[in-house]
């Protein structure tokens, strides 16, 4: 079920936008949230999202609409989908996805967020889920901490994935060691869905 952002989720999201250096964008966004499992959401229709977030701790998908009319329609008509998904709120934390990462890269041109840039060969493997060896990193955010979510870029600064750092600071470039686990990548999802239904290049 689609609903407007409950206040507690709003706080979580604002903090995330701030941490990634794109706070000013947040105010301009028309956001709705959806409990991802339809069946569950119909059973719990009367429970407010506040409760979901608090006691039941269920996940919420965060959708960005294009404008307030779309947001209104979404809440009124309860479609199958609306807008673009930028991540989930789970256990009171925002888990950004690749669409969110693209927003960050586009709106924070000074690379003022946890990122790594990879050399080409490693980048082509990360696209399909390979973890990252320290020596593949040719540049990185100087304040990277251990166990932090990082945006993975290629040399063109295209977002190719998101990862979790195993080390902080310069240790991220240690040779012959996996220093970042790839958590999301642009290719694996595609392989799963690969033109399953695209019959005729419509």
């Amino acid at each position: 079920m689609f609903e407007i952002l409950p206040p507690s989720a709003e706080t979580i999201l604002k903090r995330a936008f701030n941490n990634w250096g794109i706070f000013s964008l947040y105010e301009k966004m028309d956001i709705v949230v959806k409990s991802p499992k339809n069946k569950e959401s119909s059973q719990i229709e009367k429970t407010s999202l506040e409760n979901l977030l608090g006691k039941n701790n269920r996940d919420l998908q965060v959708h960005v609409c294009s404008n307030s009319l779309q947001k209104e329609l979404t809440i009124k008509l309860q479609p199958a989908h609306s807008g673009i998904i930028i991540g989930q709120i789970k256990n009171k934390k925002f888990l950004p996805n690749l669409n969110f990462a693209e927003l960050v890269v586009k709106h924070n041109p000074f690379l003022n967020y946890p990122y790594v840039i990879l050399e080409d060969k490693s980048a082509s493997l990360v696209i399909y889920g390979r973890d990252i060896m320290g020596n593949a990193i040719i540049s990185f955010f100087k304040g990277i901490k251990e166990n932090q979510t990082v945006i993975i870029l290629n040399q063109n600064k295209d977002v190719i994935g998101m990862g979790k750092s195993r080390f902080g600071d310069n240790l991220i470039t240690q040779r012959d060691k996996i220093t970042i686990d790839t958590v999301q990548d642009i290719g694996t999802h595609y392989l799963k869905e690969e033109n399953k239904y695209a019959l005729h290049g419509d």
């Binding site: 329609l73 989908h81 033109n195 290049g201």
Partner: protein, 344 residues
Amino acid sequence: MSYDIEYPNFSHSEYSRKLAEKYGYNDWMISRFLKFIPNTKLLLEYVEKNKSSHAEYIRANNLKIDSISLKKRLVEKGYLLKDTILKEVFKIDMTRNVNNPNSDKKTNLTTIGSTLEYLKGYYYIQDLSSCIAVDELEINEKDSTTVLDMAASPGGKTSFIAQKMNNKGNIIACEPNRKRIPSLLFNLSRCGVKNTTIFNISGEDAEKLGIKFDRVLLDAPCSCEGIITKDETRKKSRDLKDIEICSIKQKKLIQSAFQVLKPNGKMVYCTCSFAPEENEMVVDELMRNNGDNDLELEPVKYGNDGLTEYDNRQFDKDLRYTKRLYPHIHHTNGFFIAKLRKKK
């Protein structure tokens, strides 16, 4: 009447049987094609010649990258891109490498569906015919437009519409087949589309949403005859009954589409079928049911004129404004496009 130098003095039925046999089609299909496809034999030859390397087009997704930058990146990787009548669309020649354009040797370029740029949603693999249909909707980014995409999955045209709208305004996309929704979602997400709301409903129920639209695209479910260059099974897999079933469904859908159009709103109806029953007859019936005061056909810019008669039936003369695209003439899928405006 003689049909061909290869088979002089053959009757229609003999000639069609010969062609069907030679090219591996159902006889009834060829017999029909001969009545309305110009130079049918050339089409059949074209299909044979191009079945493993049919024309492939990509549409730059300007929501993520401008067309020139995309072209530059792909050319750097060795792909040979040619401009088309639409500025967003390029024809890709997979048999040639940019570094060696005159060689006929197969290149070892990765397929165009697995480049990084594809995964990033910088382009969509989409036939020129489909792009022309969307272009004919005449969407202007500056107006706050509300568009209905009545049969949306897997989202090729939806994402092009979103691009034309620069992710503003509102697109309502209908797709009744639940199994086809994930691919729609995936493509819209890959292309960075934000302004679309998807309903898992039949287009016939679009009225129940209580919204009136400035533009409606009905890319109707059809027999898909027009994609024989890409899917050879179409030579035999369908029968006349399929065309009839599609035609009945299309007539209902087009009426529903017309119903939800605002006065002065425009609708594009298209199919990837050659069959007049799925094309001109559907539009003609809409015109008969609604009358000259309610709607008018507008000329589609590119293609061969639509039929104004078929099988002893006369259609409204304005059906010449609709267009037919043929693989052997236009180097696209077989396609039909009609554009109309609601008057009041």
